[in-house]
């Protein structure tokens, strides 16, 4: 009763269909193409969004097309696929079990119809012991041999590789396990990053999805960041030497390089990026040709206002860069020229090099001329940089589950594609003046291998009959 109820359920019928699987796979493929064409999140998405009309933008936005892989509807489609896999597998499972468990009746004649000649062998003599000997041989080769006698016919039935019919259940199960692992990761894990300046320590990481930050429960200190390059200038290695500190106690020192993360208390730290920031002390010299000392020196900080020499006005440090346009450290200076006008210009630490490398018009421009404010010449005397590292900080308890799923999938493929379920019938017929042995078989796939096996088996039976003959003689 329950069985028929379930079978007549429309939903069950809808979700058990393999055609639905194929349609879902194709929908996912098409959506993935869409997701590759439409930039997802980040810089690219912002640029793309600007090219859209406002209406189109709102449509895209409301459909979550800029972050479609995390949208509800995309997850619903994956959910449908999972449901499809589960129901399709459950629907087929009883049939498969029946195929493997219930033994075929050994005394079937249909397999022996249209038997090719090479699977038939005849000895011109009645050999009463033949059935026993055949049974002995089969028991050596196959696990369970079923026998049945019907009149002059002795039937034997053997089977091998029945488990291979379970292969595709394992593959389906593996996909569900992988999806479950992903789900675990998205609910109980996090993806974050942290920037640490050399010599400093941090105890919080910023979440990637922009939903605030997370307290790690311990401090991570960057002892040193090093960048190693090859002779041709290509980067060889980025390395962050970290110390993990709990309650002020140094617990563990570990280096992190690309492809070799550190794991501390279940949280993984990956080398992601790096950069440099100006350290606190920046020193500027201002030279004035007619001044008796020649120059004055000022320790400056970003945003600070400092006096020029002898009540000659002030200057402000608007910006401090460790590497401006790849030409090294520079500071942006603002000076009040008169009541109305404020001059702004960059002062490179290495002006000679910058002058060489700047394109002509820019080198001439006052914007980059340290002597723009006459009669002074600004010199960036000292700007020390400190390196910082960017670490990807993750916790994902779903990862081992995903790996189990992957392993199961590959194993399932091997069982599904390379193993097969063959069923073999042997009929020994004792006639008055002859013994006839017929070998027949079926397989769910790989017919070539089945034919080979039948050929082999027939040959062995032939050898068996030959040895019996010799003994008789």
């Amino acid at each position: 009763m329950a069985q028929s109820n379930r079978k007549s359920n429309i939903l069950w019928h809808f979700f058990k269909s393999v055609k639905l699987t194929i349609v879902l796979l194709i929908i996912l493929a098409v959506l993935s193409i869409l997701g590759t064409i439409i930039p997802q999140k980040g810089q690219g998405a912002h640029e793309f969004a600007r090219t859209l009309t406002p209406e189109l933008f709102h449509l895209f936005k409301s459909l979550n097309l800029f972050d479609m892989y995390h949208s509800l509807w995309f997850r619903l489609i994956i959910g449908c696929l999972a449901l499809n896999l589960i129901i399709c597998s459950l629907d087929r499972l009883p049939g498969t079990l029946k195929l493997i468990r219930t033994p075929s009746r050994p005394d079937r004649n249909r397999p022996f119809e249209d038997l090719p000649e090479e699977q038939l062998l005849v000895v011109q003599e009645n050999r009463k012991e033949a059935p026993d000997r055949v049974a002995g041989l089969l028991r050596k080769r196959y696990r369970a041999v079923q026998e049945k006698q019907a009149g002059e016919n002795h039937f034997f039935y053997v089977t091998k590789g029945g488990y291979s019919r379970f292969g595709f259940y394992f593959v389906h199960l593996s996909i569900l396990i992988i999806l479950a692992g992903a789900l675990v990761g998205s609910f109980s894990g996090f993806e974050a990053y942290m920037e640490i300046v050399e010599g400093e320590k941090r105890d919080t990481a910023v979440l990637r999805d922009g939903m605030g930050s997370i307290k790690l429960g311990f401090d991570v200190q960057l002892d040193k960041f090093s960048l190693d390059v090859y002779d041709n200038g290509m980067p060889r290695e980025y390395r962050s030497d970290l110390t993990f500190i709990i309650d002020g106690r140094f617990v563990k020192k570990q280096s992190v390089i690309v492809n070799d993360p550190a794991v501390f208390m279940g949280i993984s730290f990956y080398q992601s990026s790096y950069g440099s920031v100006p350290s606190k002390d920046v020193r500027i010299r201002i030279r004035r040709p007619d001044s008796p000392q020649g120059f004055i020196t000022r320790e400056v900080a970003r945003g600070g206002v400092y006096p020029m020499a002898d009540d000659d006005g002030e200057f402000q440090v608007l910006d401090i860069r460790t590497d401006l346009m790849r030409m090294g450290p520079a500071v942006l200076i603002a000076v009040r020229k008169n009541e109305k006008e404020i001059m702004r210009f960059w002062v490179f630490q290495n002006w000679e090099v910058a002058k060489e490398r700047l394109p002509g018009p820019m080198a001439q421009s006052l914007m980059f001329n340290p002597s723009a404010f006459k009669p002074y010449t600004f010199i960036l005397d000292k700007l020390e940089t400190r390196k910082y590292t960017v670490l990807q900080v993750n916790r994902d308890p779903g990862v081992p589950i995903v790996w189990i799923g992957c392993f199961l999938m590959v194993a399932g493929f091997f069982v599904t594609f390379f193993m097969f379920h063959r069923r073999i019938w042997i009929r020994v017929t004792l006639k008055e003046r002859a013994t006839e042995i017929a070998v027949a078989g079926t397989s769910n796939k790989n017919q070539v291998a089945l034919q080979n096996e039948l050929k082999h088996l027939t040959q062995e039976l032939k050898n068996l009959m030959a040895t019996m003959e010799r003994r008789h003689a």
Binding site: I26, A29, S32, G35, N259, F417
Partner: protein
Amino acid sequence: MHSSSMIFSYITFVYFGAFVFYLFMMVMGRSGPGRVATFILWMGFVAHTFAILLRWFESYQMGIGHAPLSDLYESLVFFSWAIVLLYVLVEWRTKNRSFGTFVTPLAFLAMAYASFSPGIESQIRPLLPALKSNWLISHVVTCFFGYAAFGIAFGVSLMYLIKRLDKGGRERSLLTLIPATGILDDLNHQMMVIGFIMLTLGIITGSVWAQSAWGRYWGWDPKETASLITWLVYASALHSRLIVGWRGKKTAILCIIGFFCVLMTYFGVNFLTGLHSYAK
């Protein structure tokens, strides 16, 4: 120029020669040129194998030793090598040379693209930090054997569609050497299965690698997404065959679509941004 790169550029012509003789065999309907073609292909393959090992050795001599699987040039060379290896096995198993006419052009084109495209650097360069991983070899080898198997399936599918034009009767020597459609269909299926398993292994090894390098096993980066699309297409093709029972023409067409996806995964995605920028 490295001597391995020199050998690779000569091999381009060797494979082209093999293709020409396979074509002669088809047009003339005689097996003589086919035997020559096989011989030429074997010569090319041996030299190809030697040159890959030589390039490996050369990189160690330069002090930046790594397996020659690190950029677009080396991947094309390996792709071509994998195609020829799989093809030689198929020819040996099926005792039929007509596949060569459809498969050797892929090997030849990959080599020609690697050797003669101005945009592709043939210099041996040191490994970027991101590529320094034990997963490099297993990831690249599995992916490209998958691509190669799909490439052969593509050739076999084309043959299938062409063979269907042969309605018998008329003397068409070009088609008579092509094996029967049943054999083609079987071979097509076998190649798809090999390709599918290899692609799966390639995606899994890539995921494990991504997990150890970036801390996420899947990030919907264009290359990952494209490989997933390819995987989905072949998964549909296998389901349609094993469960729904589609054979022959439908499978062949799905296979051709699948190979188009492979090419998109391999080349197309490089025009977009992403983490597989090795191929720049």
